[in-house]
Symmetry: C2
Subunit: 230 residues, 2 copies
Amino acid sequence: MEEKLPTFESIFSIDCLIFGFEAGELKILLIERNEEPFGGWFALPGYIVKEDESLDDAADRILYELTGLRDLQMKQFHTFGEVNRHPQGRVITVGYYALIRINGQKELRPISQYARKAVWHPVKSLPKLAFDHTEIFKNGFGKIRRRLNYQPIAFDLLPEKFTLTQLQGLYEAILDKKLDKRNFRKKMLSYGFLKELVEKQKGVSYRAAKLYKFDRRKYAKIFQNELTAE
Amino acid sequence: MEEKLPTFESIFSIDCLIFGFEAGELKILLIERNEEPFGGWFALPGYIVKEDESLDDAADRILYELTGLRDLQMKQFHTFGEVNRHPQGRVITVGYYALIRINGQKELRPISQYARKAVWHPVKSLPKLAFDHTEIFKNGFGKIRRRLNYQPIAFDLLPEKFTLTQLQGLYEAILDKKLDKRNFRKKMLSYGFLKELVEKQKGVSYRAAKLYKFDRRKYAKIFQNELTAE
DNA sequence: ATTTAACGGTGTAATTTTCACACCTTATAT
DNA sequence: ATATAAGGTGTGAAAATTACACCGTTAAAT
């Protein structure tokens, strides 16, 4: 049956769009490239996929090697395949994203020589990026922004315990618009998946706010019957 | 700067998920494969991308060669890259979808020898498909189902002039559930992008229904300010 | 001790959207 | 004429969304 069929080899890559939230600002993770092409440029963490690893596995490995971060549960969002997007030939790239807590992570420390360093950079003022990475960023950011309205992705960006004001600030940063405090709180609490803690905020020079946790269990229970939006 | 960098070659494919609506049923376009592997099996129309064509261009060409259909405005929905999804080596594939009017199209006629024939097949009773195409179908169908709620994709599946009952039947076919007639009509008409025609349905043995058109211009005007969901 | 800066926290009314629900009308075929 | 099959229509209840402003608490500064 399968005699004499040719075998195929492939070169393609993965690029990672990792969002974090710090000091009221939305940031993404960039590397400074150490190699040609685009040596010295900022770029999304990304590299060539190995022959024997699935896309999801490759995304984890590559992000780890370039930034030191691992086990992020990234998801694919789009594949970019313009003919000349890579100067060395035809390399399509699969975009993955994740949202994470910046402070909950160890320091950024590239394992591979391929990246000089990895840094968090505000999305409001991104530098020019290598390859078509600016386009990849825009595409991914747009999707995440839309997803915010029907998926609990914001909680991945906050510390485990957070105040409602922090949560609102994050929504405002992603959506880039002001929200009404009372309506925001009412709505969030009405979902029923936020767990109010006894603990309060510390170290602030004003009235300490209540802390909340996102209760993944309750969320799953509440929304189990709905069409899961990917 | 760019001296002596190696050049890369790649083999990857595109698979197309084309939906149509006929006789109250949702269908997809399948080809019967003429070559190994999976000779004689049903499969999604799909093939290898050429070195010098973008993904979007490749999708158009491949669909045309395998089915005779062209200019469909397909959109990418996901990339599939399990290590062993293709028996001949590492071939990742980019999934594209489109929704089209079955009757508005010319007959299906593969240009390439690669497909024996192309057929419309009800999604309710799909046969086993080649490669991981069943998984690709499920993934794409799920996305389209969700998209139906916030994108005017249904109109692509209907004739240019259609009745509200036809439109409702289509929604019911995609969502796989019954909808309330009065509420459905009220809601659809409230959007303001359906243009009521003077013309009526013909050739039916019961009271003829009014025909409507989807007014793309009005749609664009109405929704221009909203976040465009891709 | 008083003041100040900064955020915490709360309620109500109007409007819009969603949902549930049933009957008469019209065109055609017999 | 009558049987058939779908066309077409409205209302009230419930839920969700929006707009909107003030007092309270805390710690730091004076």
